[in-house]
């Protein structure tokens, strides 16, 4: 089945590479091809790889937007609005070319489901837009399961000297598969809230997060994120919900559960119009957190976010 035809404007190849030299050769030629065509080009890859591309481009690097993906895309949930759409939307005329490497060896087992969902959702976010996003995968260091997922989330795969249509392409199945149930932590501090307890829920979160080690900007961001999620529960999630906080592996984990169902897979990743008042709550959480995990079903929705101290 040729699935490329249904995404004729958007191109989203995965690049499987094995060596540093292969990485540099393929990415630098991809960037230079874009520059030769007059296309705006951005590169968002992990720091060491960014330096390889920068060195390979030489003086041409000045014409390219370069971002360390371990910073800009630490939380994979903010890559679509904060990196990809931010660049593509600022260049509305003609094709835009981006290298995005959101999955690297070292992504944790807690992060990976959100990374795979992000790669899948890129297809929905850019359908019909003249954008090319090349996603490198380190074939030598990533698990076979990750590479198999990449064949499902990318309509085409580039290996060595050829680009082929992926017979496995089916991005929705990856969104569904990693919509994993989130089991509550037994040691969490828990607070149930309704519309009258929004202030108290926020105060509870601040007190607990501070006790668990957050301070300064991270504590302030946690307060803001909890305010948005608890408000969403009251407005969209049957009027009430449950807030829980605990510490795990050096991070504070905050979770809000309610009885609503999130029907839009791109919720929190689709930038609202500049003049629109609502619709930024979940995106705010993606922007300030180190990781967001989400589970939604007919039984309810859980949003869990992680903040390092």
């Amino acid at each position: 089945m040729n699935t490329v035809a249904t995404h004729e404007a958007f191109e989203h190849p995965a690049l499987f590479y094995r060596t540093e030299q292969e990485y540099v050769d393929r990415t630098v030629s991809f960037v230079q091809e874009g520059l030769d065509l007059g296309e705006p080009v951005a590169v968002a890859v992990p720091g060491p790889n960014l330096e390889l591309i920068r060195a390979g481009l030489g003086a041409d690097a000045r014409a390219v937007r370069l971002l360390d993906m371990t910073v800009a895309g630490r939380n994979p949930g903010r890559i679509i609005p904060g990196v990809l759409r931010a660049f593509a939307d600022s260049h509305q005329r003609g094709r835009v070319r981006i290298i995005g490497e959101p999955i690297w060896a070292g992504r944790s087992a807690v992060e990976y489901p959100a990374c795979a969902q992000h790669e899948a959702l890129i297809n929905a976010a850019f359908e019909g837009r003249p954008v090319t996003i090349l996603c490198p995968y380190d074939e030598a260091r990533l698990d076979e399961e990750v590479l198999a997922d990449a064949r499902i989330t990318h309509p085409t795969v580039m290996t060595r000297d050829k680009e082929s249509v992926s017979e496995d392409y089916d991005w929705r199945s990856v969104v569904a598969r990693y919509n994993e149930e989130l089991v509550p932590a037994p040691d969490a501090a828990v607070f149930s809230f309704g519309a009258d307890e929004l202030y108290a829920a926020r105060a509870f979160a601040v007190e607990e997060a501070r006790r668990l080690g957050l301070a300064g900007q991270r504590l302030a961001d946690t307060e803001l994120a909890v305010a948005e999620l608890t408000t969403n529960s009251v407005v969209h999630g049957a009027g009430r919900g449950t807030l829980a906080l605990w510490a795990r592996a050096g991070q504070v984990v905050c979770e809000v559960r309610d009885a609503g169902r999130l029907s839009d897979p791109l919720a929190g990743r689709r930038p609202p119009a500049r003049g629109q008042i609502g619709g930024r709550g979940l995106m705010l959480v993606h922007y300030v957190a180190d990781l967001v995990r989400l589970h939604t079903s007919d039984e309810g929705t859980t949003v869990r976010f992680y903040v390092g101290s």
Partner: protein, 118 residues
């Protein structure tokens, strides 16, 4: 000041419930607010901003030194109001930290708003 508190449990602003008092500044164009700006107090905040926009000439002031918290939609209402002005600017005085934080995330470089920090 117009008291538009809702669900006040007698503990006063910033303690037991979401409360917002908002009214005009004296001696200069603009509004001042006290309490918190969130879902519960959204309506009076947006009405006050609409009033500010109607009377805006060159510079309007939004005095927030007694506001303890503003959520994302509250900051959005402020930004959208400023974007809709035909000219001039809005000076936001002494806002809580959520205001510059949310402006920097969603409206970086918005020249229509000048923030005078706490």
């Amino acid at each position: 000041m117009v008291d538009v508190s809702q669900g006040d449990d007698g503990l006063g602003p910033g303690r037991g419930a979401a409360v917002l008092e908002v009214g005009p500044l004296t001696g200069r164009p603009g509004i001042r607010a006290r309490g918190e700006i969130s879902e519960i107090t959204r309506s009076p905040w947006e009405e006050a901003l609409a009033g500010l926009a109607r009377q805006h000439a060159d510079v309007s002031y939004v005095e927030l030194s007694e506001v303890a918290f503003v959520d994302v939609a509250g900051v959005a209402a402020l930004a959208v109001t400023a974007l809709g002005l035909s000219g001039g600017r809005v000076v936001v005085e002494h806002p809580p930290p959520q205001v510059p934080r949310v402006l920097s995330l969603f409206w970086p470089g918005l020249g229509r708003i000048e923030v005078a920090p706490r």
